[in-house]
Assembly symmetry: C2
Homo-oligomer: 248 residues x 2
DNA sequence: TACATACCGGGTACCGTGTACGCAATAGCG
DNA sequence: CGCTATTGCGTACACGGTACCCGGTATGTA
């Protein structure tokens, strides 16, 4: 009741008692290893404990429950978003674009990440550093921190939303256990049954039109991202270069 | 093995045998009722069967598993996206904006919807009709269906991503069982512990700056949506007004 | 050095979950 | 009037998260 209701405020290593046999970071890494290899739903407390060579209930000395395992996973990979200490480009749009692509790369590498991150508030220190970095790119343009947050939030919303939709199909395919060809064939016969009702003229045009000039996922991602950044740039207060103070 | 691997291709009522005691729609409505009242995780096959006054295993005569229950839920509420047969505005951007706000309204009314919809391919007939409507708004502007899909996909990605982040905090609050004041107090003390490390200058400025001019969720949503639509409009081929032929 | 205290590891147990299987009842077809 | 496909559903199982408890261990105090 004194405090520490939050994972991130709870000290990892208490003052008294025996040393823990592993660390939070090790726990997170083990969970990430499992999720990368076998998917999110493969993570169970028993499985995770086995991966760590520990008893199941020992995990509860490190986290209060499975949810905090997820919190740890998300915040750990959030560290990967930021490449290295490369100085950010001085163009804010270029900086955000870079960040967005970095986020996409990370989320494709860890397909469980996007749904998980979308469903919980970003509270960990690495997530906070990420936000810091993004806000830093917008500093000195006369925006209030609140306006910067709105702006960055819009970009992150697009990125997360896009990648989830990108992953959804791949995930469905994986869970169905079918080959891509089988699934396409299935989908096609369904599509044709829809078209047969006459209520889906666009869908019909889609099957007739474009031979196979289907836009690649990369290009679709880039399209929306660039449009969004364009729109933001157009609405931003005029550059004001490096004026003494542009707030107001 | 002959076919019907897909929920939407499987006929609801087979030719032979006794009449089912309820319908897919009733099943979906019952599930939606539970999820609206008690959250997604309150849905179990037993609970759902009880709501329908049926035996647990009877549900498996209607769906192949719990996943298909979710599919039904998503596609059912997808019907709510479209208001009524109001003729769409002739400005495509206005049409998409309206659709986006309608989507947000629906997703806030059914807080379980956004995460669920984001995680699975939109395959149902109602989802397809929604896509049809969106594509129809872009018709006659010289775009290929593929380009239209890219465009609409970007808007939907933003909408879904934004609303998920909007809901994440509320959901976390709900699950913690705390009052808003308690949670804010907790969060504040955590934030201050972060600031104390000196690594979060922007976070620090945020606590000092804006008295309470915190942007409302509605305005933040509008900001990103409008910027995105602006950016798209700017990149679209010139209007071409009402050329001689606009249909396909 | 001896003891108290706070913490660690983890076994056992409980309840809730999704769903495979099997069987009796039923409705449409021949 | 059977025949058969199909429905409703009880039972059973494997697996999930985690509450509880106990024996061991490292730190602090006397």
């Amino acid at each position: 009741m004194t405090g520490h209701e939050n994972l991130w405020m709870r000290p990892e290593r208490p003052a008294r008692g025996p040393r823990p046999s592993f660390s939070r970071a090790a726990l997170a890494q083990a969970a990430i290893r499992i999720a990368d290899a076998e998917g999110l739903e493969a993570i169970s407390m028993r499985r995770l404990a086995a991966e760590l060579g520990a008893g199941t209930m020992s995990l509860y000395r490190y986290v209060t429950g499975k949810d905090e395992v997820f919190d740890l996973m998300v915040d750990t990979v959030a560290g990967e978003y930021l490449p290295e200490d490369r100085p950010p480009p001085d163009d804010w749009a270029e900086g955000l674009r870079l960040l967005a692509w970095q986020a996409r790369r990370t989320m494709l590498r860890h397909p469980w990440l996007a749904p998980l991150a979308a469903g919980r508030p970003q509270a960990g220190p690495n997530s906070a550093r990420l936000t810091e970095t993004a806000l830093g790119m917008l500093d000195g343009r006369g925006l209030s921190v609140d306006e910067m947050l709105t702006l960055v939030g819009a970009v992150f919303a697009y990125v997360n939303g896009y990648i989830q939709s990108e992953l959804a199909e791949a995930e469905a395919l994986r869970r169905s256990g079918l080959t891509l060809a089988q699934r396409l064939a299935q989908h096609l016969s369904y599509i044709q049954s829809l078209i047969a009702t006459g209520n889906y003229p666009m869908l019909e045009r889609m099957t007739k039109e474009g031979g196979r000039q289907y836009t690649a996922a990369d290009d679709r991602f880039a399209y929306g991202l660039d449009r969004l950044l364009d729109g933001i740039a157009a609405a931003l207060p005029p550059a004001a270069a490096e004026g003494p103070e542009s707030t107001g």
